[in-house]
């Protein structure tokens, strides 16, 4: 059995995808005419398959081909936005320039925010300062 497809309507990637989905059920062979405008898909049943069943498979293949062509078209149209989303997601995971420079300058024992200072000591200092002011 042979199916003739127009190369203008169906992209090659879509045809290959659709064929790949059917290689477990039928034998498939691809060829084209001399000009390359028409793609021929040869179907051969695996084992004893009735003519009606093969005809049904042919219809199923055509539907699958349409689905693959649509998927291909959508992925082609969304390529830029997909790349942008992935690029943005990867960019946000990178450490910012400020973080890098801070970590490079500071030693692990340095405490610029005074976090390592015990609470009592910190408040004693503040109390003493107030007393001096009074």
């Amino acid at each position: 059995m042979e199916i003739k497809l127009s190369a203008r309507i169906y992209p090659l990637e879509a045809i290959l995808n659709a064929c790949y989905l059917f290689i477990d059920r039928v034998y498939i062979f691809l060829d084209s005419d001399l000009k390359g405008n028409q793609i021929k898909v040869f179907f051969k049943s695996k084992g004893k398959v009735a003519g009606k069943k093969l005809e049904a498979l042919k219809g199923e293949f055509k539907n699958e081909l349409l689905r693959c062509a649509l998927r291909y078209e959508i992925s082609k149209n969304n390529k830029k936005i997909r790349e942008y989303i992935v690029g943005r997601a990867l960019y946000t995971t990178l450490p910012g320039p400020g973080v890098v420079s801070l970590s490079e300058k500071l030693d692990y024992q340095d405490d610029p925010l005074g976090i390592a200072l015990p609470w009592k000591k910190k408040h004693r200092k503040q109390k003493n300062a107030r007393k001096r002011k009074i």
């Binding site: 290959l16 064929c19 060829d31």
Partner: protein, 70 residues
Amino acid sequence: MPENVRFNTRFYKKKAIQKAILAYAHLAKFRVKDCKDYLEVKIENIDTQVKDIFVDEFNNYVLGATKKCC
């Protein structure tokens, strides 16, 4: 009798055909000829147990390998 299969290079990749030949080398003898738009594969001494389905199975294998190559 040898079997001739002509693979259109528009659909089938050379790498995929080589991969298929490697996979089926224990069942037959292969010769590949590079034509203009086709790769002609001559298959000889096919194992008698699988002779009926060999060429079709080989074609399907090449198609599957081509899809994976892309």
